[in-house]
Structure formats: structure tokens, C-alpha cells
């Protein structure tokens, strides 16, 4: 049992030398391919660094370009050297200059010995590959790629589009089924030799020279013709980000790499001193038989991709400022808006906090100040209660508040006296539950005791603002869950709407309405509305409230609208 390593190197040669030396010193033959773009001096330094080791060879140098045949040509040349010069190598492991062994070589030997004749190479048909970038999978084989993807992107895309339009299709050699998979494999000597000496190799090579990214498909396809003992997975841990470029491992990934139990990882940052020092020492217990399990750390990588592409919903920051407002994305958590409740009930926030467990603010967007819960002047995240500061960017104020209080559901009062910009925003937020009593703004006007003739104009203005706000709430683009009652309907039978509200909020399961909020004294309110009408202002948003008779100075009657 002897594993030979092929190493494809193009930069960080000092690290490649370190790893090659590590393998060679532990009895593994190594064949190194160095990209021809690497300078002569750097190459000579590498050769000198590895001098004196009898089991290291250097193969013919090719100028390698990503996604091109040259990578396969380099691999084939190195494989040929390995087969010819190291007849004892029973397995050949393809690695790169930025690979790092994570487990002791004896563990890899034992692992392979337990599975004699098995080829570890990820090899999947094009129909089953979910991970190709750029939408090219089968087309990698069927089209021609005369332009460099890295250097001539526009021409590349143009030629692909043109061929698609023309319906151009290359003929795939008979009997060959295109497979793709990770570039990094471990084949048995027999299989590799069979590929190298395949009678139709010249034909295959000609075909693959025109394929895009053949290093991910050449061996992956040919192996299917040469053996039926394919274990379709790679022994090398290699992760890709959303752009399709390999993740780089740094010193802080040490524990993560350990947990993966993979034999080799790529790509390692050349200056990750701690990783190299740790994994290239012989400290590991040689008895570990753990199965390589990159899945253990997959979650971390998929979360990273999600962080990059979808971000944290409801967060606005220097790195994330979405223009497209996705349904879930305006704020980060659910919250409740009570409209009119503060006008109708005494100390409504305290009641809401008691009954529903919400963090209940007063009029967060009130004209004097942001009325944070419990009268605080600064709230989570050092949000100030200054009205000017808040109104400077009311939407940011709200999204900040919701973000800062993640994990604790917020509620606040809102009404037509408050900052309009906020009311233009939350109706379109999926996270908002809005409960609105229309026309309730009339109650404080009534309670102010000021003459109707003075109030009339203000009432009309508030009604106008609330009317516009209701248009938003009722817009067909509105995303919030909205309940609207007129003041008249609400005070007619307040218990039912209140119970609906508690059920909808659903902050605590199975809540029964045991304690109703205390309604303000509305004696004479009906008359007040009538007086408004008499002044020529129609409070239509209040609804059809029974006004009683219009006798001006009726003695105090029992409160007809109190909740019992």
C-alpha cells in the first residue's frame, strides 16, 4: 500500500514544498507540476528546497489557464511520471500546491487498504449536478469555447449565446457519458493506468480539448469507462462560495478542519502558519478511523452563502442596503401597531403589556418625542427620543428599533398626529400587525374641552391624514395584517374586537380577555360630533355613532360605552 501524490502548483511554492516534503518523508512518492507562468527562479528555489529526496519528481511544465485543457494536460503528464517511475504506488492522489493534509498519512493508507480497488472520485452526470456556476452544465460539453472566460468574458458570453441561438451542438464521442465532479480525486494505479493507456484516448483528448473546465470532467468521465468501482466523492475537502471560487481556510478554521475528518483540505491560505504547523506535525493519534465527513461543517458554509446572498432580513448597514424590498425583508421581526387605541383607552400601553406580554410603547412617532415604554428617554441601541432626530429618518428609526429589540416583540401607538412617514412604511411590511380604530382622534379633541369652532379645522386635518393612511392600509400592495374598525363599531361592542386582537397577536397562547382596558369617559361625545357636523365638518371616519338627542346640557348619564 503506497499512495503517490500529484501536486499541481502555481503559487505559494514555499508551502507546496513544505507539503511535498511532508509526504515524501513519510514514504509517499510525489510528482510536482509547476505552472510555466511561475518564474524560473521560483521554480529553482522549489527544486532546491526538495533536493535530496529520492521520491520526488517534477513533470513537464505547462502554462495553465483556469478552465482550460492545459490543467488536464499537466495532470496527465504528472500521472504518467508517477506510473512510470514509481511502480510501487498503488493509489494516486491528485492534490494542489495549496492543499494541506489534515490527517496522518497512515490513516489515509489504512483507509484505502480497507477499501481495496475503490476509486474515490466525484463523478456525476450533468443532469444531477446542482453546483455549476454560470448555468453551463451540459453545454460545457456541447458548445465550443474559443474565448477565455477570465480575460474575454464578453466574447465568451457572446459566443455562448450565439451558439445557443444557432442550436450548435458538438458531437460527443460514442460511448462517452459526460460526468462532472470535484477536480481532486484518488484513483487506484490500475484505473489511472487504464485511463492513460485507453485505446481511444487520442479521440477523447481531442474532444476534451474543446470542453470548458475539462479538469472537472475528464477523469470524471473516463473513469466510468475504465472501472466500475467508483465511490463518487472526493477525499479532499473543498468548498466553494456563491461566486464559485474556492473558500480559503485561515488559522481560525483549525477546529473546523479538524471536525471534518477529511484527509486533505484545499485551499489553505499560504500564510496560515498555525494550520501548517498543526497539521504537518505528527501529533495526531494514528488510530483514528473516522469516516471523512465534510457534511459536519457544511452548515457553516451554507450559512455563509446565505449571509452573502440574502443577508440578515431587516438589517440596514454599510454593507447591506437593499433596494429591492423583499416580502420578509423590511424589518427583522414582527411587531404590532395600535391605531386609535391610545385615544380611546386610558393607559392602553400598560394594558397591552400586561395582557399580551408585548413591549408596549406609547406614541413612538408622537410630535413631542418618541414615547418609549416606561418613559425611557433612550432605548435599545441608544435610540434617542428626540422627535427631530427620529423624523429625520423615521423609517430608519423604526427598522432600527425592531432590529435592536430582536427577540422581544414590540408594539406602539400610532395616529394621525404622528410622523406620517412611518405610516407610509409599515402597511407594506409583512412583519406588522395593525389594529386600527378610525376616527379615534376625535376623542382627545373632545376631551380638550376647547370650543368646536376652534377644533374644527384641526379635526378636518386629522381626518384627511388618517384617510390617506387608510388608503395605504387598504392598498393591494399592503403586506401587513390589518384590522380596521370605526370608532362607532368598536365602542358598540368592544369585547369581540379586543379578543380578536389578542388572538391575532398570539404572543401568549390561549389568552383570554380577562381584563378590559379602561375606556375614557365619553359622556357628551355624541353631542360633540354633532357640533362638528353643525360646524360643517363631517367626521365620517368615526362611523355611525348614535348621537342621542341633541339636548345641550343633559345631566351625566351612565357611561353607555364602558366595557363591562
Amino acid at each position: 500500500m503506497r499512495v503517490g501524490f500529484l501536486m499541481l502548483c502555481h503559487d505559494g511554492l514555499d508551502r507546496a514544498a513544505q507539503v511535498a516534503g511532508y509526504w515524501a518523508d513519510r514514504g509517499c512518492p510525489v510528482v510536482i507540476h509547476v505552472d510555466r507562468r511561475v518564474s524560473r527562479e521560483a521554480y529553482d528555489t522549489l527544486v532546491a528546497a526538495l533536493e535530496g529526496r529520492h521520491n520526488i519528481r517534477f513533470s513537464e511544465r505547462f502554462r495553465c489557464e483556469w478552465g482550460r485543457w492545459s490543467l488536464v494536460a499537466a495532470t496527465l503528464a504528472a500521472a504518467r511520471v508517477m506510473i512510470d517511475e514509481f511502480p510501487t504506488a498503488s493509489h494516486v492522489f491528485l492534490a494542489s500546491g495549496s492543499c494541506l493534509p489534515l490527517r496522518h498519512i497512515s490513516q489515509l493508507r489504512a483507509y484505502l487498504a480497507e477499501r481495496p480497488g475503490v476509486n474515490f472520485i466525484e463523478s456525476v452526470t450533468t443532469e444531477d449536478v446542482p453546483w455549476t456556476k454560470g448555468g453551463l452544465d451540459h453545454e460545457r460539453f456541447a458548445l465550443r469555447f474559443p474565448f477565455s472566460w477570465k480575460r474575454q468574458r464578453k466574447l465568451f458570453d457572446l459566443s455562448v449565446r450565439l451558439q445557443r441561438r444557432l442550436g450548435y451542438r458538438r458531437r460527443i464521442p460514442k460511448g462517452l457519458v459526460p460526468h462532472m465532479g470535484s477536480q481532486w480525486w484518488c484513483l487506484t494505479r490500475g484505473t489511472l493506468q487504464a485511463i492513460l493507456d485507453h485505446p481511444r484516448r487520442a479521440e477523447f483528448d481531442r474532444f476534451f480539448k474543446g470542453v470548458w473546465i475539462p479538469d472537472e470532467s475528464y477523469f470524471q468521465s473516463l473513469v466510468r469507462l475504465c472501472t466500475d468501482r467508483v465511490e463518487s466523492r472526493s477525499l479532499t475537502l473543498a468548498k466553494f462560495d456563491y461566486q464559485g471560487k474556492p473558500h480559503i481556510f485561515y488559522d481560525d478554521h483549525l477546529q473546523l478542519l479538524r471536525r471534518s475528518d477529511c484527509f486533505v483540505a484545499r485551499k489553505i491560505w499560504p500564510r496560515a502558519d498555525r494550520l501548517y504547523a498543526t497539521f504537518l506535525s505528527d501529533r495526531t493519534a494514528t488510530e483514528s478511523r473516522a469516516e471523512p465527513n465534510p457534511g459536519k461543517i457544511d452548515r457553516i458554509f451554507s450559512k455563509a452563502i446565505e449571509r452573502r446572498t440574502r443577508g440578515r432580513a431587516g438589517l440596514y448597514m454599510t454593507g447591506r442596503f437593499p433596494r429591492v424590498q423583499t416580502d420578509a425583508g423590511r424589518t427583522c421581526a414582527r411587531y404590532v401597531v395600535f391605531e386609535g387605541f391610545g385615544d380611546l383607552f386610558e393607559d392602553f400601553p400598560a394594558w397591552a403589556a400586561r395582557t399580551t406580554g408585548l413591549r408596549a410603547h406609547g406614541h413612538l412617532f408622537g410630535p413631542e418625542r418618541a414615547e418609549f415604554a416606561d418613559g425611557q428617554s433612550v432605548f435599545s441601541g441608544a435610540l434617542s427620543d428626540s422627535a427631530t432626530l427620529r423624523d429625520y429618518n423615521a423609517v430608519a428609526f423604526l427598522t432600527n428599533l425592531i432590529w435592536n429589540t430582536r427577540g422581544e416583540r414590540q408594539s406602539f401607538l400610532y395616529g394621525p398626529r404622528d410622523t406620517v412617514a412611518a405610516g407610509d412604511f409599515f402597511p407594506y411590511d409583512l412583519n406588522a400587525d395593525v389594529f386600527a380604530i378610525t376616527g379615534a382622534w376625535a376623542i382627545p379633541l373632545y376631551l380638550s374641552g376647547r370650543p368646536v369652532i376652534e377644533i374644527r379645522k384641526q379635526a378636518a386635518e386629522l381626518q384627511r391624514i388618517e384617510g390617506k393612511h387608510l388608503d395605504h392600509l387598504r392598498s393591494r400592495w399592503a403586506k401587513a395584517r390589518v384590522h380596521v374598525w370605526t370608532l362607532a363599531d368598536f365602542i358598540e361592542s368592544p369585547v369581540e374586537p379586543l379578543q380578536t386582537m389578542i388572538d391575532e397577536i398570539g404572543n401568549k397562547a390561549g389568552l383570554r380577555l380577562t381584563e378590559a382596558p379602561r375606556m375614557r369617559d365619553l359622556t357628551g361625545f355624541g353631542q360633540f360630533l354633532q357640533d362638528l357636523r353643525n360646524e360643517g365638518m363631517q367626521p365620517w371616519l368615526v362611523g355611525d355613532l348614535r348621537t342621542g338627542d341633541s339636548a345641550p346640557d343633559r345631566p351625566a348619564r351612565p357611561k353607555p360605552y364602558a366595557v363591562r
Partner: protein
């Protein structure tokens, strides 16, 4: 500003239009004008120590313009050096507290000196632009003030080279950062700070969640305001609150310019530090150590000098308030704990760099 629903019928998902040709042309001339200005003023700065020949081709450079920063510089240099900056290119604007000697004595610093007006040179940017034309081309360049300490996700274990290589590989030319104003527990002038100490030992409080963001035409940059200064000094006139976003790290080209401090740059694409489609770009933080004990004294001096910002009169009141030695701390301030905490708070992001 976040679009707030707007009128029903407006498409809330409309993408930002690219600048029309006229705007693009105007911005182009603006950039050229700023370049010309920097070249015209190149003689205002006189080399004191020029070690730029020692700059390696892949070195990360740091540009700064200082005045009387002898107190902050030792830690600033130590921190920034540890991140992996290979060479500092500094302009000293008439310091009287030994700043020049301190800088000239460090062998990874090249120093220029000037006595010209800070305000008239776009707050030092003209001088730095010239140095960047000369020495920054093709390098990753950090442009900082002496009271800014750059941090980014994983900074204690990954030097700047790791970041810039990754940015290169991702096809990105820059990284954005938020200026995070740090302040002490008590009145800002009361906690004594000695040069060389870690300022975050004293300044370990900040405002975690009161930043307000808008997008600005025509350069497409974000405009971030907020933090303790907006809260304590600009509550009455929030528009005038300091701008907090920066683009401090750029793979420089001699044709680039910073427009307004390092808050925005031209060409326009350098301002695209943020993702517009919901994802997160990698961003860092500039820990702002402005509120060390000297601030009170320095504000007095600034007030006398009248050199700061576009409208000095506008800031008079601001400096007056600082001279009164205010307390910025509130019971809702957040204590500085480390980059993971800062990232979890959403003040910076690792983006795709894990």
C-alpha cells in the same frame, strides 16, 4: 432612505437607474478637476523622510494626514502595523507636539510636512491624493485618520493581506466601513489616556443601533449618520450630523480620487460598498477614538483655528458643547466586546468571507 411604500402603484422594486450620460460625464470632470488640484498643490508638501523606495510591489500602504496627534499615533501605528500595513505615508500639518519626530523616527513611515491651510487643501485630501498618485498606484491603500482604528471580521487572526487577496479574488476593488464613535463611561475629558495605551481600554462604549442611512445621488454612495454625536450634539439639526460611512480600503489607481474625506470616491463604482439586493458585502469598522481626554482641549484649539469642515461657523456650536465636557454614555450604550459581537449587532459584516 428606505423607500417607504410610496404611493400605491409605484413599483417598490425598481432598480436604481445608472447615472445618465451627462451625470457620468460631469462626475468624470469632477474627478479630473480633483486630480489636477492635487497635482497643482504638490509643492505644498515637503519631504522630511522619504523611505518610499523600500515599498515592495505588493505592500499595503496607509495614507494619513495628521496635526498634533502625538498622543494617538503610537497606538494607531501599532494597531495598523499589526494588521499588515507595510508602509505609512504621512503628511504632517504643522504639528507642535512632537508628531513629526515620532513619525520620522519610525522606519516604516515616509513623512511630508506642510504649513499650508488644511481647509483649503480639502482637509488634507489634496496632499494625500498627490501622494497616492505617486505611490499608491496598484497597491491596496488604507486612508485613515489618526483617530481611526480599522477592524474587520476575523481581524485578530487574519491580516489585511488575507482580506485584500480575497477581495482581489472576488473582483472587488474596495471595502467599506462604518465609523463607530467610541466614548468613555463618564464625561469625555475625565478619563486620562497616556500615549501608547490601548484607547479602547477607556473608550469601550458605543451606540449600537441608531444609525440612519440614505442613498445619495449622483455618486451612489450611502450616507450614514447617527451615533452619539448625532444624538448628543445634532438632535436639533440632524442633517448636519457627521457622516459615518467610509471607503478606507481601496485597490488604488492613480486616476482615483476621494471626494469628501474618505466618505465617497470617484469613479462612482468605488462607492458600491453595499449590496443592494439584500445580501451583505464584507465591511469593517473604524473604531473612532475621537473622545479621548484631549478632545476638550483640542476642541478649544479647533474653535480658534476655524479650519474644520466645509462650514466652520456651523461647527462652532458643536465644539462649544464638547468644551463643556459632556457625557455621551447612556444606560442604553453598548459595551465593546469584540468583533463577533460587533458583527452580530449588524455594525459590520463578513459578507462572503468566512
Amino acid at each position: 432612505m428606505i423607500r417607504g411604500g410610496g404611493s400605491p402603484g409605484a413599483d417598490p422594486a425598481a432598480p436604481s437607474p445608472p447615472p445618465d450620460l451627462r451625470t457620468a460625464y460631469r462626475l468624470r470632470w469632477r474627478r479630473r478637476r480633483l486630480l489636477a488640484r492635487a497635482i497643482a498643490k504638490r509643492r505644498q508638501i515637503v519631504p522630511v523622510v522619504d523611505r518610499t523606495r523600500t515599498i515592495a510591489p505588493d505592500a499595503i500602504l496607509c495614507f494619513l494626514c495628521v496635526r498634533n496627534e502625538a498622543q494617538r499615533l503610537p497606538w494607531f501605528l501599532r494597531h495598523t502595523r499589526a494588521l499588515g500595513v507595510a508602509h505609512f505615508l504621512a503628511v504632517d500639518n504643522d504639528s507642535t507636539d512632537g508628531t513629526a519626530e515620532l513619525l520620522a523616527g519610525a522606519d516604516d513611515v515616509s513623512l511630508w510636512r506642510t504649513g499650508a491651510s488644511y481647509r483649503l487643501s480639502r482637509f488634507g485630501l489634496d496632499w494625500l491624493t498627490w501622494l497616492m498618485i505617486r505611490h499608491g498606484h496598484g497597491h491596496w491603500c488604507l486612508t485613515l485618520d489618526a483617530d481611526e482604528l480599522l477592524v474587520y471580521p476575523n481581524w485578530p487572526t487574519r491580516p489585511l493581506q488575507a482580506l485584500t487577496e480575497w477581495l482581489d479574488a472576488s473582483g472587488r476593488e474596495m471595502m467599506g466601513a462604518l465609523m463607530l464613535d467610541l466614548y468613555p463611561r463618564g464625561p469625555v475629558g475625565d478619563a486620562p489616556y497616556a500615549a501608547g495605551d490601548d484607547p479602547t481600554d477607556i473608550l469601550h462604549w458605543f451606540d449600537a443601533g441608531n444609525h440612519m442611512i440614505r442613498r445619495q445621488a449622483p455618486m451612489g454612495n450611502l450616507w450614514v449618520q447617527g451615533g452619539p454625536r448625532a444624538r448628543a450634539f445634532f438632535a436639533a439639526e440632524p442633517r448636519r450630523a457627521p457622516t459615518l460611512q467610509k471607503v478606507p480600503l481601496v485597490k488604488w489607481n492613480r486616476r482615483y480620487v476621494y471626494v469628501n474625506s474618505t466618505h465617497a470616491a470617484l469613479p462612482r463604482r468605488l462607492n458600491a460598498i453595499y449590496d443592494e439586493t439584500g445580501g451583505e458585502e464584507v465591511t469593517g469598522l473604524l473604531l473612532h477614538t475621537k473622545f479621548l481626554d484631549q478632545i476638550v482641549e483640542k476642541s478649544q484649539e479647533e474653535l480658534m483655528r476655524g479650519q474644520h469642515f466645509a462650514n466652520s461657523a456651523l461647527y462652532t456650536e458643536y465644539y462649544r458643547r464638547i468644551i463643556e465636557n459632556p457625557t455621551l454614555w447612556t444606560p442604553r450604550s453598548t459595551r465593546l466586546r469584540g468583533w463577533r459581537h460587533l458583527e452580530a449587532l449588524g455594525l459590520m459584516s463578513r459578507g462572503g468571507w468566512i
